[in-house]
Symmetry: C2
Subunit: 359 residues, 2 copies
DNA sequence: AACAAAATGATAGACGTCAATCATTTCTAG
DNA sequence: CTAGAAATGATTGACGTCTATCATTTTGTT
């Protein structure tokens, strides 16, 4: 953009620190002292060098710098292990990206954590502290206190990025994830729209009120329906602890007990159970079904018209963003401009065809 | 992932070509000849070197390579100029990204083309051919024949990426953009869902049948409604040539003439005219309004409940992807894994808050 | 003016790759 | 067996930055 004139001419050359030193009228050593803040430089020299930098549009050549220091980026990702399809998808993407990132000297280690055990997270983090990583991304747990290891990391200058579930603001450098209240509101909006003003009743399934994200989603959904769709009644939430069997039973019960039911929204996980319930149970004539997270089985159900909408968090995008953030933080660079990460809505027509099998 | 063991130990080092040569039992020169395909190497040597590479997990250090060749990436983006808010947003993102990319030695030139003039595109491309860019991204035009300049570029080894509107498959290396039939189907699905089985009629506005993307969207929308929502009638399409005034008039007429109208879908541009019409005209009790492309005014209208859904192409994501593709193509690298780019659905709750003003 | 302290200059090796050159060895055909 | 071709080895400078050392100049203090 700023370089159209140069661009046209055959040879473009970025100014080097030597160029800066020359136009500033100082030696390379001094320019270097200024650039790398090594101190022992007179104010007026600092001034001269900085002016030369802006004048020439000097940009530090990160590649050369990394080469000279033999820089390698070692990033650790702490992600819940186990059978959860969403995190499986996340780990799969991480693995794929990892191969490509090798060329950029980015090494990735994935540490499986126990999804709901605070101790496991704590232990994983301590492992990272010891492994002298350059950056860490953590899927946190709102109930666990990770202050000590996180502060230890950040005291070492290791940036920490919260992933999917936020950490206390002062314990991390950035948060990459959706706003779950927004996700809930989005669900509420779509449920409301699907009623076209007709009366209806929504069955709600959630894991537990202890999960902050589930709470937020429920709240968002309720907010929108109460404000904009008084024709839609909210039935009491059933809690499933994200267990497939419990989800199944709750869905069957909801469908059977209330013949006014027109919509079902599962705020949490365990959708396989829900799908089984939908297969075996008669569905009302008017029925709108909405779940979270696009994985192979929810995708199939979407295409097969068992469910109508999937709200997805785009774990691949989140991983990419985490990586970008970590690199920028480590290099002390500007973070590239990126649009706010919001929940994605999939209906059966805009669903990507390349969702990997994770089962 | 593959390097957990190394990761744990304090010092990690990527193998260099010297290491490869050593374990292959050949000189650096020979290893280099293999790595850079310079020829004049015996088959068995090639074999030995390649084996050593896979054995050690050698990955070419792109940073060092680019440093030694003084590589600079010069990418040209041919994007329609003028007042169109969507392309304004695209150019704005390009500009922002450009600043950050300077650190990676990526220079970006944006060439404004005349949105609908084939000659302008042709001229712009010839300009690029002359400017010896390293890669080109073009917003094409289905009606124009760009075979000559495109082939000239690709003959020079300059990768060409089609953006937003596809080019003939054999004339480009990749296409970055949404599938417009999918976009239309998505619109149709949402319109259908919004009727909850009640009867309705959809007013359709489009620019012109000459625009391939508009055709595709109309077709997709019709497909879904006819197949899955027989209760929704499709009214004849009004053609607006993407002119605000014509869009306004068509919308007013549609709302006035047909009291059964329950939805309006503008397949094309000129939404400012539509918004004016919605402000001044009485809307039916049941009314679902859907448009394309999130820009400041459509975002405002979404939040203010004038429209219900915006289907967006995510120009920022498209730009980023184009950049990634071009870099990978130039470096002859693998393209990082990325999920299929599909149209994004925005309702007023999941709409990003940081859409820049482009008016 | 003398002296220490602060600032500056000059320079060199390392990082991994590319792109050369030139000498030497090995292979192949007649 | 030998000339010529093909293959290989050895080596070098450049790219831009970092890090270090050491010599020299300038500054400020008494």
């Amino acid at each position: 953009m700023r370089c159209i004139d140069q661009f046209k001419s055959a040879a473009i050359k970025n100014p080097t620190l030597t160029d800066v030193a020359r136009t500033a009228g100082v030696s390379y050593a001094t320019a270097d002292r200024v650039a790398n803040e090594r101190g022992n430089v007179a104010q007026k020299s600092v001034q001269k060098v900085k002016e030369a930098m802006t004048q020439l549009g000097y940009v530090r050549n990160v590649a050369a710098a990394n080469l000279s220091t033999n820089r390698i980026y070692r990033f650790a990702f702490l992600i819940p292990g186990g059978k959860n399809a969403f995190f499986k998808r996340m780990r799969l993407h991480l693995q794929r990206v990892s191969d490509v990132m090798m060329a950029d000297r980015v090494h990735i280690e994935v540490i499986d954590t126990d999804a709901f055990k605070s101790a496991s997270l704590f232990e994983g983090l301590q492992q990272v502290v010891a492994s002298n990583a350059d950056g860490v991304a953590v899927v946190g747990l709102s109930t666990s206190n990770l202050e000590k290891p996180l502060n230890a990391l950040r005291a070492q200058g290791v940036p920490v990025v919260g992933l999917v579930s936020d950490l206390p603001t002062h314990q991390r450098d950035a948060y990459i994830g959706i706003n779950n209240k927004v996700a809930g509101r989005t669900a509420g909006r779509l449920i409301g729209l699907s009623h076209a003003g007709l009366p209806g009743a929504v069955a709600l399934l959630a894991g537990s009120l202890k999960a902050q994200d589930h709470c937020d989603r429920l709240m968002g959904c309720r907010e929108v329906l109460e404000a904009d769709f008084p024709n839609v009644e909210l039935l009491p939430t059933a809690f499933t602890f994200d267990d497939q069997q419990k989800v199944h039973d709750a869905a069957v019960e909801a469908l059977a007990s209330n013949d006014r039911i027109t919509a079902l929204y599962n705020v949490g996980a365990g959708n396989i159970g829900l799908l089984k319930a939908l297969e075996s149970t008669a569905r009302p004539a008017r029925f709108f079904c909405l779940v979270h997270e696009l994985v192979s089985h929810t995708r199939t159900a979407l295409v097969n018209k068992q469910i109508d909408v999937v709200i997805d968090q785009r774990p691949d995008v989140e991983i990419n963003r985490a990586m970008t953030y970590l690199q920028a933080l480590v290099d002390n660079r500007d973070i590239p401009p990126m649009q706010e990460h919001v929940p994605t809505i999939y209906v059966r027509d805009n669903v990507p065809s390349d969702i990997p099998e994770t089962d």
